[in-house]
Amino acid sequence: MAKPSDKLIVCAYLAAATAPLAAMALGVRDHEINGALEPTPRPDLTLDAVRTESFQGPFAAWFESHLGLRGYSIFVDNTILFHALRDTKPYSYVKLGLHNVLFLYEDLSYYNLYNNFYDPQHLAAYADKIAALQHEMSKQGRAFVPVIIPSKTTVYRDEIPAKWARDLGKPRPSDVELYGAMKHALEERHIAFVDARALLTTSTEPRDVLWAPTARHWSDYSGCLAMQQVAIRYRELTGKPLDYDCELVRARGRPGDSDYDLMRLANTWYVPHEHWVAKAHHTPPPPGDRPSLICIGTSFCWGLVLDAADSNRFSAVRIDYYNRTLTSMPGFESSDVHPHSEQWRAVFLTQDVYVFDLLETYLTNGNTFLEDAVDELSAEMVP
């Protein structure tokens, strides 16, 4: 005679095994997973595909990516790891620092870099091109302003736990061989640039105003501070007026704010975070002609261009994202970048302010899109 408890337990196991499948079949609403996931289309089932094993792998991937309740599973598991073990899951892109400061793995890799630095000759040639471009643009009444943007690991260096820090001595090789080398190359050639890294690391403002502990990127307010410096370089290079003010405003945070991007990507419940975000308030612009602006670079450009658009001090604001996608503010209209095309010339050769994003984590060999952009502009502008 079967015990009722045995039946109950067997039913519980079956329920646990079939619940995700049932949820998948019934389309039960799952918890949203933040972050981009690779698309996994369902493969066509054919005898030949099974025989050659080209069906099995893609089907398993499709099944896993459509399994019901996986969002809840991920959040439960991550939340246990985060709060019980003070860690994010292995191989996650988000890593937990001290005092709940979140880091992107890529930034920690940069912090721990001890090789793959610029070849000095290559760096010299790169800096020469930047100097020539800036000089030529300046003659045309335009400003080409490189901005060295810090990594979060630079601004929150003291919050990096020992387990995420290689013992590389002081100063760290990346400080000397990447940031230091680039800064020296720019200074040596008398290039007007903005050292936003120095700006943020020596600022007397509270650090969480400059960079939210839960953010990958700097705050909009920091973007404003950097734009203020860009405006100064613009005046120096062109002699034209451009006032740019930044008044700190703590706005109420919303779940989709960029200051919470790493928190969202951690896919974890109850991550401690501030409930406000740091933005800048601008006074109305003075009357007169307004210059146009383009920022060429990484996602850090967004902090600059959004604040620039808010400031109303530019006639047009654009971002050339990774030298691949051109987006115009404030409507976010986007198009692909095709260097040397008519459309490209109409935009890229006619701006007044060119912000050139030298994010320090990208000052390594292998990231060529910025050098490509300099080459493309030089080919058209430098005689």
Partner: protein
């Protein structure tokens, strides 16, 4: 489909169990065959006809052997059958290795290498081959009757709980169950619980300590300090035990779900006080197979001490080769064979050593042996072992957050406790304690169910890593 995959846990297993349990008793074997063939075809569709073909041949050959038992014809049939199975194993598992070694040798003499299309290794071929050989041998010896029905023999070969990674079954152990077996709620409950324990061993412990082992073995030579080398070897010792014994637990549990009772394949191997004991506790189905179908036929202990030791070395070398087609596996086998031989030579002198010394010695030998098993090449194995033997400091340390995240460290400590605490039973009788602290049945039931849920949830999480998205 690995047992520790979402596809198996949430699709194949429930679907198969529903179909199996709803099938009337006389037809249950056919449902089990269909499910097992589908399971095998998923992973090795092109090899399935070979498995089925060999099964049919075995079936007829075994009947011929039984009919002519004691004659020269039976011997010839057995030799032909065994040769056939070994040829299949050698072709699929070792051809690439032999050709690669041959080409390497030819290269030394400036001779152009042989062109060769690599042979794909079908899953489970090593296990299935050994089961087929033992079947023919047992029928030849009169230890087992030939299968009465072809379907039963095919089910024996392809039964999905064991077809891809063992344990190695013997026909004589399963024959009666293949013909008739009891199904009960209690057995199913036990099956789920055993499966849950195995899944947790694999997903929560083995896969977590694998982070440490993989990390250490992937480090450049200059970063492997002595401590890291020992950590890597210990992590791998835990990984391979929890992985393989977890898999065996899942296989035993799955068997119970469909009414089978399989033999145990592991018995707390790391509490062994000698290498000889270790091999009676580790991968028991393989050890006993090698003893019964290789060591004893070679003469075993019957032909003098020297011959017994030679037989031991042959068995261990071939055992190493069976584990993988690479010199590191052969070295691993010879290494273990050497220490088992040494123990035999020392005899009572070894056994008179303090028990604690025997334990430490055995663990150290096993741990170092795993380095050969895990290393990508003999060179890496020697590097690691030299780092274990002599203090070495790394020029640039590894990133400990990557190498040993808290989850891996917890699994490491938990794993060590699970495998080593039972050593205490060798020093003191804990029967009374066991009775006093035995978990209430309901607690154990709930614990297993919780392990199943935790494993399934963790498995889901580990399979999905959202990419970085950008700010807007």
């Amino acid at each position: 489909v690995p047992f520790s995959s979402l596809l198996f846990v949430h699709l194949f297993l429930p679907a198969f169990l529903c179909a199996y349990w709803l099938t009337p008793r006389p037809a249950k074997n056919y449902t089990a065959i269909a499910g097992s063939l589908a399971f095998y075809a998923w992973g090795a569709p092109r090899f399935l006809p070979v498995v089925l073909g060999l099964g049919v041949v075995d079936y007829f050959v075994s009947h011929q052997i039984a009919a002519s038992r004691g004659t020269r014809r039976a011997k010839l049939l057995l030799a032909a059958g065994v040769t056939m199975h070994l040829s299949v194993l050698v072709y699929f598992k070792y051809t690439n290795f032999f050709i690669s070694e041959l080409n390497s040798a030819l290269g030394h003499f400036g001779i152009a290498p042989l062109t060769w299309t690599r042979v794909v290794l079908p899953i489970g071929v090593s296990f299935i081959t050994f089961e087929e050989i033992s079947y023919l041998c047992d029928v030849f010896r009169g230890d087992a009757r030939p299968a009465r029905r072809l379907s039963q023999y095919i089910l024996f070969l392809t039964l999905f709980p064991h077809s891809i990674a063992g344990p190695i079954f013997r026909w004589k152990d399963l024959e009666a169950q293949l013909a008739e077996r009891q199904h009960s709620w209690e057995l199913v409950r036990e099956g789920f619980e055993r499966f849950a324990i195995g899944l947790a061993k694999k997903v929560l412990i083995a896969d977590s300590v694998a982070i440490i082992a993989d990390g250490v073995f992937a480090l450049p030579r200059e970063q492997v300090s002595s401590q890291l080398a020992w950590l890597g070897a210990a992590a791998y010792a835990l990984q391979i035990y929890f992985d393989f014994s977890g898999y065996s637990d899942m296989a035993i549990g799955l068997g119970k779900l469909i009414g089978f009772r399989f033999k145990e394949n592991f018995n707390r191997p790391y509490i062994s006080a000698s290498l000889t004991e270790f091999w009676t506790r580790w991968h028991i189905s393989l050890s006993s197979w090698l003893r019964d179908y290789l060591y004893i036929p070679l003469g075993g202990n019957r032909k003098g001490r020297r011959r017994a030791l030679v037989n031991l070395m042959i068995v261990f070398a071939l055992s190493g080769l069976w584990h993988g087609a690479a010199w590191t596996f052969v070295v691993w086998g010879v290494y273990h064979g050497s220490f088992v031989t040494l123990e035999r030579l020392l005899g009572d002198r070894y056994r008179r050593a303090p028990l604690v010394v025997q334990h430490v010695w055995t663990l150290a030998v096993v741990l170092v042996g795993w380095v050969f098993f895990r290393a990508g090449s003999a060179g890496q194995a020697i590097d690691m072992i030299s780092a274990m033997a002599w203090p070495r400091s790394g020029a640039v340390g590894p990133l400990m957050g990557d190498l040993a995240p808290p989850l891996a460290r917890l699994a490491f400590v938990l794993g060590i406790a699970i495998v080593l605490v039972p050593i205490a039973t060798k020093y003191r009788d804990f029967a009374a304690w066991r009775d006093r602290f035995q978990l209430a049945a309901v607690g154990a039931r709930v614990g297993c169910l919780a392990l199943f849920l935790a494993s399934a949830i963790h498995l889901t999480n580990m399979r999905i890593t959202p990419l970085i998205y950008f700010k807007f």
